[in-house]
Symmetry: C2
Subunit: 471 residues, 2 copies
C-alpha cells in the first residue's frame, strides 16, 4: 500500500499544494484580519537572509536606508491623479486616533511615493543634493479581496527605493541598474530563479509611472508571477509635490525620479518555482540550514559521531543543524526536513558507523548514496554549489519547454489557459488584443525586444509580448 502523500500533489490541485506546503513547512499562518499573515520563524529566517543579501546590493549603488511614517494624510495621495486612482480601492483608512475622530482621515501607506516627495521637496535644494538615493524596509497595506499567503496579502513586507536625479537619462539608467544588477542578480544568484526581464505595457504600469520594468518568473503550474518592479516616475510626483533643484545654470528644475520594490511575495515565488510534491527545495545559498545531520537511532556512538560531523561541516563553512531528537521516529524527521527543503541530509545510524560511512541524501538532485565519513567535509560545499546551479537550470528548462511562439490572440489564450507562456509580436497584439486577453484572465506580462533586451518603448519595432495567466 502506498503511503498517503504529505502534501496534495501539484498535478491534482496546485493552489492546495501551495497552501499545504506553507502550513506544513511552518512558513506562515493566516492572520485574524482578512488577508494578513503571521510569518513564522522558518519563513522569517528566509526573509532575513533575503533582506541581508539585497540590502548589501542596494547599498553598493550608493543608496542609504531611511524610514518614512506608516501613516499618510489622505490628501497627499490625491495630488498625483493616476496614483490616487490606482490605489484608492486598496486603502486602509484610520479615522480615529487617541480616542477621538481625526479631523482629516489618514491612510496606512500602500507605498510611499507621496510622503517621500513631501520630504524630497525640502531636502533637495541644488544640483549638489542629487542624486538623492533612499531605500526603506517597511510594511505596507493594500486591502486584498482574494488573499493568498505571501502572494497577495493585505499587509506585506518589502523594500521600497525612491530616488531623485537631475536628468531623465540618469533616472532611466538608475532604474535599469536596480532592475538588472540588484533584483536580477539577487534573484538569479541567491534564489536560483529564472525570469524574463522586460517592460510593462502602458496598461500594466505602476500608477503614476512613465515606465515600469518587471521580472517575470514561471511557477510550477506554468503561471507567471511578477518578482519585482522598478519604475521610472518621470516628473509626475516632482510636479505634484514641487520637488525642484537649482541647476548648475541657475535654473529651477523639476527632478526626475525612480521607485522600485521587492516584497515577501518572493518567498511565495520560491515555493512555487522550486517546490515539488515532497515540499520546498531551498537554494543552498539561501538556506538557513544547508545540511542536517540526522542521528538515525538513540545510540551513544551514533549521536557522538553526528555531533562531530556537525562540527566539522560547520568548520568547513556549511550551515548545519544536528538533528538528535531520536525520541521522534526517524522517518517523520526525514519527511519534515524534506518538507522544509533543506538541501542535504547526512543520515547516520549504527550500520553506517560500522562501515565508516554516512548516507548522503540530496533534496535537489535527488537520490541517496553512502559517502565515506572522511570525504564529507570536502564533498559537501561542491554538492551545494552543484545543487544551486541545478535549481536554476531546472527552472529555466521548464520555462523554455512551456513557452511557445504564437501568431494571434486566439493561440495566445489557448497556450496560457493550458498552463504555459505565449510569445507574439506586440504589433499583432496591441492594446486591443490586450483587452481581448483580459476577457480570458490572461495578461501581457511584459514586452521584450527581439534580441531579448528590454525595449526603450512599447512600440519599438520587433517588440514581443510575453503573455500568460498570472498570480
Amino acid at each position: 500500500m502506498a503511503k498517503a502523500p504529505v502534501l496534495t500533489p501539484r498535478a491534482d490541485d496546485f493552489p492546495r499544494w501551495y497552501q499545504d506546503l506553507i502550513t506544513k513547512a511552518e512558513l506562515a499562518d493566516n492572520g485574524p484580519v482578512r488577508g494578513t499573515m503571521v510569518i513564522r520563524p522558518y519563513g522569517y529566517g528566509l526573509w532575513e537572509r533575503m533582506q541581508h543579501d539585497m540590502d548589501v546590493r542596494i547599498k553598493e549603488t550608493g543608496t542609504q536606508n531611511a524610514y518614512f511614517p506608516l501613516l499618510i494624510p489622505q490628501s497627499y495621495l490625491t495630488r498625483e491623479a493616476e496614483h490616487v486612482e490606482g490605489f484608492t480601492p486598496e486603502l486602509a483608512v484610520v479615522t480615529h486616533g487617541g480616542g477621538k475622530e481625526l479631523e482629516e482621515p489618514v491612510v496606512i501607506r500602500p507605498t510611499s511615493e507621496t510622503i517621500v516627495n513631501e520630504y524630497f521637496s525640502k531636502w533637495v535644494q541644488s544640483y549638489r543634493d542629487l542624486p538623492l538615493l533612499i531605500n526603506q524596509w517597511a510594511n505596507v497595506v493594500r486591502w486584498e479581496l482574494r488573499p493568498r499567503l505571501f502572494l497577495r496579502t493585505s499587509e506585506f513586507l518589502w523594500q521600497e527605493g525612491h530616488t531623485a536625479h537631475a536628468t531623465y537619462e540618469e533616472a532611466r539608467d538608475f532604474a535599469a541598474r536596480i532592475h538588472r544588477h540588484v533584483y536580477g542578480s539577487f534573484l538569479r544568484d541567491l534564489l536560483a530563479m529564472d525570469f524574463v526581464l522586460g517592460r510593462k505595457t502602458a496598461g500594466e504600469r505602476f500608477a503614476g509611472a512613465i515606465n515600469t520594468l518587471t521580472l517575470e518568473g514561471m511557477m510550477g503550474d506554468g503561471k507567471a508571477l511578477q518578482l519585482g518592479t522598478s519604475h521610472e516616475l518621470g516628473q509626475n510626483f516632482a510636479e505634484a509635490f514641487g520637488t525642484r533643484y537649482l541647476s548648475r545654470d541657475g535654473e529651477q528644475e523639476l527632478v526626475w525620479q525612480t521607485s522600485w520594490g521587492s516584497t515577501t511575495r518572493m518567498i511565495g515565488a520560491l515555493v512555487m518555482m522550486h517546490g515539488d510534491d515532497n515540499g520546498l527545495r531551498l537554494p543552498p545559498r539561501l538556506a538557513p540550514v544547508q545540511a542536517v545531520v540526522l542521528a538515525v537511532k538513540d545510540d551513544e556512538a551514533v549521536l557522538a559521531k553526528a555531533r562531530e560531523i556537525g562540527e566539522r561541516l560547520t568548520a568547513a563553512g556549511v550551515r548545519v543543524q544536528v538533528d538528535d531528537r531520536t525520541e521522534t521516529p526517524f522517518g517523520r524527521r526525514a519527511v519534515d526536513w524534506e518538507l522544509k527543503g533543506v538541501p542535504v541530509r547526512v543520515e547516520i545510524g549504527p550500520r553506517d558507523l560500522e562501515n565508516g560511512t554516512a548516507m548522503l541524501v540530496r533534496r535537489i538532485a535527488g537520490g541517496k548514496q553512502p559517502v565515506a565519513l572522511d570525504a564529507l567535509t570536502a564533498l559537501l560545499p561542491a554538492v551545494l554549489e552543484e545543487d544551486q546551479e541545478l535549481l536554476l537550470t531546472q527552472a529555466r528548462a521548464r520555462r523554455e519547454s512551456r513557452t511557445s511562439d504564437v501568431a494571434d490572440v486566439g493561440e495566445a489564450v489557448e497556450a496560457a489557459v493550458a498552463g504555459g507562456w505565449a510569445r507574439l509580436p506586440w504589433a499583432v497584439l496591441g492594446a486591443a488584443g490586450e483587452a481581448r486577453l483580459a476577457e480570458h484572465g490572461v495578461t501581457v506580462r511584459c514586452l521584450v525586444a527581439e534580441d531579448g533586451a528590454v525595449p526603450d518603448a512599447d512600440d519599438a519595432p520587433g517588440n514581443v509580448a510575453v503573455v500568460a495567466r498570472a498570480y
Copy 2:
C-alpha cells in the same frame, strides 16, 4: 565677537537644544501626521547598527525572529482587562478597508501580546514546544498628544520579544536575563550608557504584567528616561487566550510568559545622555563613521594624502570617511562633523603635510594635537576605545553627582524639580507618597534593593525608591 552658537545652549533651553540637534545633525524630521517622524539616513544608520548588535544578542538567547500582523481585531485587546484599559486611549483605529466600512474595526498594534497569544495558543501543545522564544522587529502606533522626536512618537520602531515557559521561575529568570544580559550589556557596551536597573512599582507596571523590570538613564538635564523594559506577564494573557500545554505529568497547564521591548527612543537617549553644546557625541563602537579625514584645502598633495590616510585607517579596521568637499569652507565642514558627533577628526592641510603630521581632533575627550602621520594607524583604535570608556565614565559621574539620598517626600520633590534624582526608602514613600510625587510631575522610576540589586518584590525590606522627573 563670539560666534553665534550652532545650537541653543543646553543650559538655556534643554528641549530646544534637543530639537535643534536632531534637526541640524539630520537625524529626523517631524512627519505630516501629528507625532510621526521621518528618520533620515544619518539617524537610521544609528538604528541599523543598534538593531544588528541587539539582534545578535537576542539570538544568542535562543530566540528566533518572526513577524505578526500590524492590524489586530479590536476584540483581542479587550480580552485582558488591564491591557485594554492601559492601551485604549492610545489606539489608532482603522474603520475602512478596500473602499468599505469594516464589520469589526481593527486597531494598529500598540504592542503585540494579544495577537501573539492567539498564535501561541495554537503552536504550543506540549511541554516539548516550550520554551517558545520569539522576537519581532516592527513598527507600532500609540497616539501621542505631546510628541517629541524619538522620545514620544505616535509611531515608533522597536523589537518586541514574546516568550512562553513551563514554570513561573523559568519565565522570571528569562525576563531577568534579557534585561541584564541583552539590554543592560547592549546599552553599556555599545552605547556607553549609564543606567540604574530596577523594578517598577505596581502603579508604573506594563498593562497586564505582574512585574516590570526597567533600565533608567539620567539625561543631560538630570531628568530620567526609561531605556528598555522587560515584563513578567504571569499567566494573564495565557488565561485570556487559553495558551495551555500538556505537561510531562499529562496535565493541561497554562504557560508563564514574558515580553520585552526596546525602541527608537534609544536614539533620543543617546542624544540626551552624551550630547553637548556642540552637538552629538557618538560612542565609537556605535558610530557609523568613527573617524573623518578632512582635507583642509583644495591641494592635490593634501587630497592624495587624505585619501591615503583614509585607506590606511580603513585597513586598520576603523570606519572612515574622507571629506574632500573642499568647495565647502573648512570651518563649516568641521562644525558639521562636530554636530554629527563623529568621534575623531583627522585634519590635514599643506602645513601639516610639510611637517609630516595631521591634526587629531577628539570630539569626546576634547582638544586637538598634531600627530605624526606614521603614528595615526597605531594610535586611532586605542583612542577610540579610550573615548568609548570616557563617555560611560562621564555619564556615570553625572548621575552620581546629581543623585541625593533624602528622608521624605518633600525633599524628594525638591531634588527632582531641581534637576536631579532622589533616593528614599520605599517604606517611607509607599503608594501614598507616590501619589503625592505625581502632583509635582515626579515619579518613582524604579525600586532597587539596598545593595543595588533588583528586588524580588515591591515591599521587600530595605527597598529604595529612585525618584525623578522623567521624559
